[in-house]
């Protein structure tokens, strides 16, 4: 058994593609400096895209429209099912249609501040600039955004901002945006420009002579592992929230693509930055397989409270007004129930830790619509939140029009991911990461309605512009065939790993290990972290890993549709990633965004960021399983938005 709690520090991480000059000119400058590929030569280039969510679907469609030959993969039975589909609330764009003082600069400012000063200014500004084009693009595709009676687009205000810049399609914005990208991708599949492989999962990255040249993937129906070669590889495989077992991610969302790429040389940045979403439905018991998010748009009209007294078990309607603690309104009078996600989540944890939580196990707080119903009438509340209320009632069997909703925070999004430069290229030349898979633009905390914006910005606009430069500079690569010895070796590696999993024939199921790891991570690397807790987790994870390889039981064979084998193989990677997350959390001895270190707080109990020591992105280099990794620091420079302690009081 090998383990680590230490690391070595290597050369600083440098973004060699980052342009200089005024921030609003950098994206234009980079696009002008980037080399282009002659349209006639594009079809000679093959690009692999892994994943078909907002980032991957948009990238596959757009690269194919430009004339590249795209080979695309998803583990789902159809590209339309990627988990972007479950995003509810909306997508931000600095259109300023409301004339309420919004601008590209304000969206840029809000995102850098919301990210608690751990994001790159250049990237975030580009994101804000592109946000405007995304809405145009989606409307042109037929995305049915909500509209006003005059026929123009409606917007609303969303989590932690004071302008109405969020475009939405009822509570199904992610679904509608994803179907737009899926339909654009479908058009390219029909045209023969995209070779689509559904039910096919990437299991390794092929690196030849230091460049990404393909992937190893398994056909989940036949069980056959195969190699696919290309001139560049794009990972759009989403986040790693399922390390926690219970999260709002889809059941099969996984970290294998990014972790395997990490093992092959791609640095992993800020793995400890995970977002705990404040408004999810509390768990009901040990059988719980996943958690369901309720859109945080509910916080626009719902009021969050717990009883003032500890252990008050009266039903909510029997607790008089003066015995309720509307704690967000009390602690943060100017933002109230609309404080950013990390603050709302931690406040909920604090009141529950004090013994004032409600519902089963005291792990919940009320989100009450009684005032909203009195103010606007039931019909208006129904028009705004009807589908969310229905969903809540279906899951809990309680009527939120009559009884306050019960909510509790849950793992929702991972801001960390593969380190990328301004071009979205990882530290492995020819390997790009887009969407939630990269560490990108959200710093230590993502604002509501910004994930959809980033996924589509990367997929439709950023990557298709920057990947040209890489391909133009590497025009005549030696052809790599599936017979190439390195390719064969990587295929054999994957097959060996799968065979090993099947061979153990132990006495514990894949889910039992996943649940054990998840509980450990939630306890020690969840909403609040301490040095001693993280050290405990770092001691325990290698033990679970060792036990896993001794006791795992995977029925069936590798040459068939085998969902247990899929699960077990993903857990292998979670068991390594979890360790890096804990180490990253341990080394970052500050509180910032989604990462709250108990040792680093103000006398009032608020998060204390330490810019003097930690104003950098931590990019980790893999050195071996259970071996101390190497840290490469990318210093973050703030020329436009000057770091202040966030204040939402």
């Amino acid at each position: 058994m090998t383990s680590y709690t230490d690391y070595t520090t290597g050369e600083p991480a440098v973004d060699s593609k980052a342009p200089s000059g005024p921030v609003h000119e950098r994206w234009d400058k980079r696009r002008f400096e980037a080399r282009l590929v002659n349209p006639a030569n594009r079809r000679k280039h093959t690009i692999i895209v892994v994943g078909t969510g907002l980032a991957g679907g948009a990238a596959g469609a757009t690269l194919a429209e430009q004339g590249y030959h795209v080979v695309q993969f998803c583990y789902q039975d159809s590209p339309r099912r990627a988990h972007s589909i479950a995003a509810q609330g909306g997508i931000n764009a600095a259109k300023n249609y409301r004339n309420d003082g919004d601008s590209i600069h304000r969206l840029f400012y809000d995102t850098v501040k919301g990210g608690d000063f751990r994001a790159r200014e250049s990237n975030v500004h580009r994101l804000a600039q592109i946000s405007v084009e995304i809405i145009d693009q989606c409307v042109a595709q037929g995305v049915p955004f909500a509209r006003e009676y005059g026929g123009l687009l409606d917007t609303r205000s969303f989590g932690g901002v004071q302008v109405s810049r969020t475009f939405y399609a009822r509570g199904q914005t992610g679904q509608q945006l994803l179907l737009g990208a899926y339909q654009a991708l479908s058009r390219q599949i029909a045209a023969g420009n995209v070779e689509m492989h559904p039910r096919t999962e990437m299991l390794d990255l092929i690196v030849v002579d230091g460049r990404a040249r393909g992937i190893v993937a398994r056909d989940l129906v036949t069980g056959k592992t195969d190699t696919y070669v290309a001139d560049a590889v794009v990972l759009a495989s989403g986040g790693y929230g399922n390390v926690f077992y219970l999260s709002t991610n889809a059941m099969n969302s996984n970290a294998t693509a990014v972790w395997r790429a990490h093992r092959r040389g791609a640095h992993f940045a800020n793995p400890c930055f995970t977002q705990i979403h404040p408004t999810c439905i509390p768990r009901t018991g040990d059988h719980q397989s996943k958690l369901t998010l309720m859109s945080e748009s509910l916080r626009n009209d719902g009021r969050i409270w717990v009883p003032k007294a500890k252990g008050d078990t009266r039903p909510p309607n029997q607790i008089p007004e003066d015995e309720r603690d509307y704690y967000l309104e009390r602690i943060y009078p100017s933002f109230g129930n609309l404080v950013p996600r990390d603050i709302a989540s931690r406040a909920a944890k604090n009141v529950c830790d004090e013994g004032r939580g409600i519902g089963p196990g005291g792990q919940g707080v009320y989100l009450d619509f009684a005032d909203a119903i009195r103010r606007m009438g039931r019909a208006a509340v129904e028009a705004r939140y009807g589908n969310l209320f229905d969903m809540y009632q279906r899951i809990t069997d309680e009527d939120p029009y009559e009884v306050p909703m019960r909510i509790y925070p849950a793992v929702h999004y991972t801001m960390g991911g593969l380190w990328v430069d301004y071009d979205l290229q990882t530290t492995v030349p020819g390997l790009f990461a887009i969407g939630e898979a990269n560490f990108s633009d959200h710093g230590a905390n993502r604002l509501g309605a910004s994930a959809l914006m980033q996924g589509l910005a990367d997929g439709y606009f950023v990557l298709p512009a920057t990947i040209n430069d890489y391909l133009a500079r590497n025009p005549h690569q030696d052809p790599v065939t599936p017979e190439h010895p390195v390719v064969q070796e990587m295929l054999a590696d994957t097959e060996d790993r799968l065979n090993l999993l099947l061979a153990v024939d132990g006495d514990r199921t894949p889910d039992s290990f996943h649940r054990e790891l998840g509980e450990l991570m939630w306890e020690f690397c969840g909403m609040a972290r301490t040095e001693s807790g993280l050290r405990k987790a770092l001691e325990r994870i290698p033990q679970i890993r060792e036990e896993f390889w001794r006791r795992i039981k995977v029925p069936g064979t590798g040459e068939e549709f085998n969902q247990s084998l899929e699960k077990a193989n993903r857990i292998v990677d979670y068991l390594e990633l979890a360790e890096l997350m804990c180490l990253d959390a341990l080394h970052r001895a500050e509180s910032c965004g989604g990462h709250f270190r108990e040792e680093s707080q103000t006398p009032e109990g608020e998060a204390a960021r330490r810019d003097d020591t930690f104003a950098y992105a931590a990019a980790w280099e893999f050195t071996g399983t259970g071996v101390a990794p190497t840290l490469h620091k990318e210093d973050l420079v703030f020329e436009y938005v000057h770091p202040t302690q966030r204040s939402y009081a």
């Binding site: 429209e65 159809s78 397989s289």
Partner: protein, 249 residues
């Protein structure tokens, strides 16, 4: 609760399948139907049997992956997806039959997992607006009447699960196909391809081996997203209009 499950087991597309009977105990009414199946599968693995394969992913009722016929009804007794069906809809001691979607256009891959790629090919035939990235005009250049936007949205809600096909005695895909056609054809952005879209998508649907529509209405009853039966009527109108226009040329 204690339940008896009769589950369709089929090794692969070529093998014969049969119903197998299993008992599960300790099922809570707060569990989702799929969490109940998780418990069955944990039991099966530990007893050395192969778990039941079934498609599922988001477990929030939006991805459209889950696809179970429960007691003869697509997605079971409630009007929702199987992942959002909860065990409180059942009684202690119940016997529950669980089968895959049954339709010749959806061949079984294993156990409860079927191949729905025919739906993707119907979309590929024309279920899109040709709007290459970067070519879009300013979003507010074309206002869309709210009634049209709402009509488009109502049809765009389809999650492509295939319950409509599974519920139809003819195995028809009319509700799925009409939902996409109505979503795009009512919008000004979809208007230029209005005729080719309906003709090509319907032709693809026919070639995939789905049955014909006899307006039985089972599809709309089973649809977890409430796509209305009149969707089919609207599509037929669109198709007639397009076919007559094409005939005139």
């Amino acid at each position: 609760m204690k339940l008896t499950l009769r589950v369709w087991r089929q090794k692969n597309a070529d093998a014969d399948g049969a119903m197998s009977t299993y008992a599960v105990d300790g099922i809570s009414s707060d569990m989702s139907f799929l969490e109940m199946l998780d418990i069955l599968n944990e039991q099966l693995i530990l007893s050395g049997e192969e778990p039941v394969a079934f498609d599922h992913d988001c477990r929030e009722g939006i991805c459209g992956a889950c696809s179970l016929v429960i007691n003869g009804e697509a997605h079971g007794p409630e009007r929702t997806t199987a992942c959002q069906l909860h065990m409180r809809s059942f009684q202690d001691g119940d016997t529950i039959d669980i089968e895959p979607w049954r339709a010749s256009a959806f061949p079984v891959i294993r156990d409860l997992v079927v191949d729905r790629s025919a739906f993707d090919r119907i979309i590929q035939a024309g279920g899109y607006v040709t709007a290459p990235t970067g070519s879009a005009p300013e979003a507010h250049a074309t206002p869309v009447p709210k009634a049209d936007a709402d009509f488009a949205f109502e049809h765009a809600e389809c999650i492509g699960c295939g319950a409509c096909v599974a519920a139809c005695p003819n195995g028809a895909a009319m509700l799925f196909t009409s939902a996409k056609i109505n979503h795009l054809n009512v919008l000004p952005q979809g208007a230029p391809e209005r005729e080719t879209r309906v003709l090509d998508m319907v032709a693809q649907m026919d070639s995939e081996g789905f049955g014909g529509c006899t307006l039985t209405g089972e599809c709309a009853t089973a649809c977890p997203k409430g796509i209305p039966l009149v969707s089919i009527t609207s599509m037929n109108k669109e198709w007639l209009r397009a076919a007559r226009k094409a005939g005139k040329r």
